[in-house]
């Protein structure tokens, strides 16, 4: 239960961590962990590699917290580190010879581990699978702007590029994704609204 002053802000927790508080970082990370997991998983596309990426990012943020200068929100800073770690993983994977067609296994694993209502999961997995056809940079931009809801300006900080490039990556990603997602939605219901909770024979 928060005290009279409410829970400490993200910035406060980060400062406490830098000052040597051994609990502060854990509390901060826990706050954002689920969103950061979504970012890592959707950027990398594979749960095992996403876990690696998120762990890399967490350790990196832990150690580099002193570099945080407050030019952006803490959550923006955290997302930037996670996106970087995730894209790093993808680059390393691209440099390795392909070992398996990971995507199918990855999504099977996702289904197995999921506790969402089945229908929402179906649609989500369809979209998550479709996301994987995008080039990583476009996928990351679309993820940060459309799925995580960051402004183009914040997305530019997270993706370490210009707002114009963010817009253009998002635009190309949407155009590229459209036929796939439209097709998937068409299978579900002809006059479907955008709500993922609605389905045919529920």
């Amino acid at each position: 239960m928060p005290g009279a002053d409410g829970p400490p802000s993200d910035t406060e927790l980060l400062h406490r961590h830098v000052a040597g508080d051994s609990e502060a970082f854990g509390e901060l990370f826990l706050r954002h962990r689920d969103r950061l997991w979504a970012v890592a998983l959707r950027t990398v596309g594979d749960p095992e590699e996403a876990a690696d990426a998120l762990q890399d990012a967490m350790i990196s943020a832990f150690r580099r917290a002193g570099d945080f200068r407050g030019e952006s929100a803490v959550t923006t800073w955290l997302h930037r580190i996670v996106v970087n770690a995730s894209l790093d993983r993808l680059r390393r994977r691209a440099a390795r010879p392909a070992v398996s067609s990971g995507d199918e296994q990855a999504f099977e694993a996702l289904v197995a581990q999921d506790s969402d209502p089945a229908r929402a999961t179906d649609l989500r997995l369809d979209v998550d699978a479709a996301l994987q056809i995008l080039p990583p940079q476009q996928r990351a931009a679309l993820l940060v702007v459309d799925m995580m809801g960051f402004s183009v300006a914040d997305a530019a900080v997270i993706l370490d590029t210009s707002p114009g490039t963010v817009k253009s990556r998002c635009a190309r990603a949407r155009a590229r994704l459209l036929p796939h997602v439209a097709h998937l939605r068409g299978n579900r219901s002809a006059s479907e609204s955008v709500s993922p909770a609605q389905g045919g024979d529920a």
């Binding site: 876990a51 350790i59 635009a171 155009a175």
Partner: protein, 288 residues
């Protein structure tokens, strides 16, 4: 190219919608959209796509990943504390007479890490040799078995089969004096398999009541166990077992996390030099 004649490319439409196309070209696209239901429909779909993406439920972080992150964070916190302590020791050592730095430093770290368990640590001897159990349940249950406890808690907790204990364990006990480990280590020939890890671990816990040879952990193993389990209360492992994993020698660590168990399978080669801050030696993790 004149947009009015042919349909708009979805790329162009998406760029236009993102505000990337302005001026005369933008006005041409706007005019085309006014008169072309098909392209206007694609534009609507692009808007729906963004809304759909925004409304999509987030994937749930699997327990195994959460556990793994907890362990990695605990290790990182311990690493930082170690570094700070080592720095403090170092400056103090320079002021005082020099002393052998490495091993005493490790002991200091361990004593600090073990503090939460200190009250029950000496009573752990009560169960010693009676079962495969390794952890101490609680102070009260330990007190309940107090009559069975060794009268002298400071006695060296040598196992009946002390000869089987690794040299490092022996030297740790000798070096640490009254510092007694909070758990013991059993050995088995079990080959744990990734695919069946949870059910095998449940069976291993079920076998805990059966007496088996147990030995004291090495200082390095104790440190590793403390790091892995430090995010979990009560933080004392339920089972630490030398076994195999996927055919290779491995150490299995199981801790009670309240609603179930968390387990780690680690490589002996990671433990022997003192597990590093990275979790590179963790071969697998699970919860059950």
């Amino acid at each position: 190219m004149r947009g009015q004649k042919s349909h708009l490319d979805p790329d162009v439409l998406a760029e236009y919608r993102a505000g990337l196309i302005t001026g005369r070209r933008g006005r041409r696209i706007a005019a085309h959209l006014d008169g072309c239901a098909e392209c206007a429909g694609v534009g609507d779909q692009l808007a729906e796509l963004s809304a759909l993406l925004a409304a999509l439920p987030a994937p749930v972080m699997p327990d195994s990943v959460a556990q793994r992150l907890d362990a990695a964070l605990a290790a990182e916190v311990a690493r930082r504390a170690d570094a700070e302590r080592a720095g403090a020791d170092h400056s103090r050592d320079r002021k005082r007479a020099p002393r052998p730095a490495r091993r005493p430093t490790l002991q200091l770290v361990m004593m600090r890490v073990l503090v939460p368990a200190a009250a029950v640590v000496v009573l752990a001897a009560g169960g010693y040799g009676l079962s495969r159990i390794v952890g101490v349940q609680s102070t009260s249950s330990s007190a309940a078995t107090g009559s069975e406890a060794e009268p002298a808690p400071s006695a060296v907790p040598s196992a009946p089969r002390a000869a089987a204990a690794p040299a490092s364990g022996t030297s740790f006990r000798a070096a640490a004096g009254t510092q007694k480990s909070a758990f013991t280590v059993v050995s088995s020939g079990t080959d744990f398999l990734r695919a069946r890890l949870a059910s095998q671990l449940e069976a291993a816990l079920g076998a805990l009541a059966v007496p088996a040879s147990a030995e004291s952990p090495s200082a390095q193993l104790q440190a590793c166990v403390q790091r892995l389990t430090s995010g979990i209360k009560p933080g004392i492992p339920k089972l630490v077992e030398h076994a195999r994993f996927q055919g290779q020698p491995a150490i299995v660590i199981v801790a009670n996390r309240g609603t179930g168990y968390a387990a780690w399978v680690v490589a002996p080669g990671w433990v022997a030099p003192g597990c590093s801050a990275t979790s590179a030696g963790v071969l697998d993790r699970t919860t059950f």
